[in-house]
């Protein structure tokens, strides 16, 4: 028994980590990611692949609910930790892996107060406070030319049982299911799609807890096959007034590297994304020699990314933003990746990055996009955050 216990503890000594970013704790997340890279702990893409749920920063009410849902999906042995200041990163990770070893060594899920799927759905059915219902500042953030995207269908589709049977949902018909639920959830209804067919439309959410996704962003939309439509973007906890420090040390290069690492991760290029994170980590350092090394790394990465024909071929023509308002973010995803490269490899810290695009604009660009393309568009575009607009850039955490 002792041997098995020791094997169990050894096995979780390098856990897979699912990182939850809280809006406004960007710099803290960079510190955490650097530490994880140093330790060689892999990043999980979904709760199923995670052992450790790491919340970086202090989430607001809605995000905390989302974290609870994700936590209920992590298989045991598991541990959940939160980090709120930069000094405690290393010690918090040590404590987390210790606690995880403890949980694994016990062998039995002693702390397993996992709510059942039925309970979770029940809570929502009872009209509980859910992030979904928050319009935030961008409640009507659907793209132009989307019929019936009145927010109403989104908020209620599948919430009260049989809601889809009610009239007033425009094109939603019920294809004979009579609004019955199976295991607490309804089946998808049908609506016309991008190409004029009537297809099943699956209501989906992307974010807030998703790898390579802007912290705190929430997307509601419907999927027909893998084409997204009726996209609505909101910030979670936007109405609670985010008073935390917004992002970074003021160096736009760091922001560029952050965007690059996210875009490259989503584009499926993990080694390049790792290089971007490492360059960012060095640039953050206090030691001038480290910063110099960071510059060199960033320049090398920029060269590598700009030269990659596969990446160019893969990202060309996606998410084209045409007008002048978009400023330097005009063009397709690859143009924007190249722009981030230019910014990241600049010898001197460039002047401020232009403000990001409004959620309405981005939602418009996502409408009718394929899921993979939508992810790339979101990763490549800077988004304007109400809190970020309000808050001055402040020192790193």
């Amino acid at each position: 028994m002792d041997l098995i216990e020791r094997v169990r503890r050894w096995a979780v000594a390098r856990p897979c980590v699912l990182v939850v970013d809280v809006p406004g704790s960007t710099a803290l997340r960079w510190t955490v990611e650097a530490e994880l890279d140093r330790r060689g702990w892999p990043l999980a893409l979904s709760p199923a692949g995670a052992d450790l749920l790491l919340v970086v920063g202090t989430p607001g009410e809605d995000l905390a609910q989302a974290v609870d849902v994700v936590w209920s999906q992590v298989p045991g042995p598991r541990h959940r930790a939160s980090i709120s200041t930069g000094d405690e990163v290393s010690s918090a990770l040590d404590a987390a892996v210790e606690a995880l070893g403890e949980a694994a060594g016990r062998g039995q899920p002693g702390d397993d107060e996992r709510p059942s799927p039925g309970d979770l759905l029940e809570q929502r059915g009872g009209g509980d406070h859910m992030a979904m219902e928050h319009g935030g500042t961008d409640a009507d953030g659907h793209g132009e030319g989307v019929p019936h995207a009145d927010g109403h269908a989104m908020d209620h589709a599948g919430m009260d049982h049989g809601a889809m049977g009610h009239g007033g949902h425009g094109e939603m018909d019920h294809s004979g299911h009579g609004g019955m639920d199976v295991a607490g959830l309804p089946m998808a209804g049908t609506t016309p799609d991008r190409d004029g067919l009537r297809l099943d439309a699956l209501q989906v959410s992307l974010g807030p807890v998703l790898a390579g996704w802007p912290p705190g962003l929430l997307l509601h939309g419907q999927l027909q096959g893998d084409v997204l439509s009726r996209v609505r973007l909101t910030w979670v906890d936007a109405d609670t007034g985010d008073e935390r420090p917004a992002s970074d040390s003021g160096d736009a290069r760091l922001l560029a590297l952050d965007h690059l690492s996210r875009s490259l991760e989503v584009a499926g290029w993990p080694t390049a994304a790792r290089d971007a994170r490492r360059a960012r980590d060095r640039l953050c350092a206090a030691d001038p020699a480290d910063v110099e090394a960071g510059h060199r790394r960033a320049a090398r990465l920029a060269r590598r990314v700009r030269r990659s024909r596969t990446l160019a071929w893969s990202l060309r023509g996606i998410g084209v933003v045409g007008d002048a308002e978009a400023g330097p973010f005009r063009g397709d995803v690859f143009d924007r990746v190249r722009w981030w490269c230019e910014l990241a490899s600049a010898p001197e810290p460039p002047a401020d990055v232009p403000p990001g695009l409004s959620l309405e604009r981005v939602a418009g660009a996502l409408d009718g996009a394929e899921l993979a393309a939508a992810r790339l568009v979101v990763a490549s575009l800077p988004l304007s955050h109400p809190a970020a607009r309000r808050m001055p850039l402040s020192a790193r955490v």
Binding site: V182, M187, D195, R316
Partner: protein
Amino acid sequence: MLTDLPAWAVAAVIALGGLSVAAGIAVFVVDSMARATFALLTSFLAVAGILVALQLPYLAFVTALMMTIEMALMAVFMIMFMMNPAGLMPMTMVHNARGSAVLGAGAFVLLTVGIWTMDWPTRNGAVPADSTRQLGEAIMGSHMLVMLVIGVALFATIIAGTVLATARGRYDRFGAELDAARPDDPVPGGLPR
């Protein structure tokens, strides 16, 4: 015919034949389109196993290969078109169940009785050392015409299938004069045109 086979092969043919029939019946019993499709695949894989027992490796492997791919694609279409594809709602995909059951069972009995009572010709010649080579010789030699006819038929299938299945064509993409430099498509592809 079966007397030419060793005892294990006869046993395998019978067992796999039973599995194949059972899986075939399962197709109509299960609610879910995915399960129906993959029950049918099980049936085909059992047939591939029978071909192995009959010592026709090439036909066996190629049956498994083709049928799996085709069933995977059939699942795509079943799930694209059939309501409630996962069988989460009670439903049935059979119509006139009694009539079709009688018809199916009748045809099955007729064929089975035929196969087992028919006076099959006795084999003249030995089992080839390489059945794949023999097949190749037949296709390129005496049965060349078959291949040519099938080639034309497949070509016609490709053209007809595309014409029927796609709503957009080259005029939608390149304009009425077919002179657009870049096609107008909702999702770009890997090549410029």
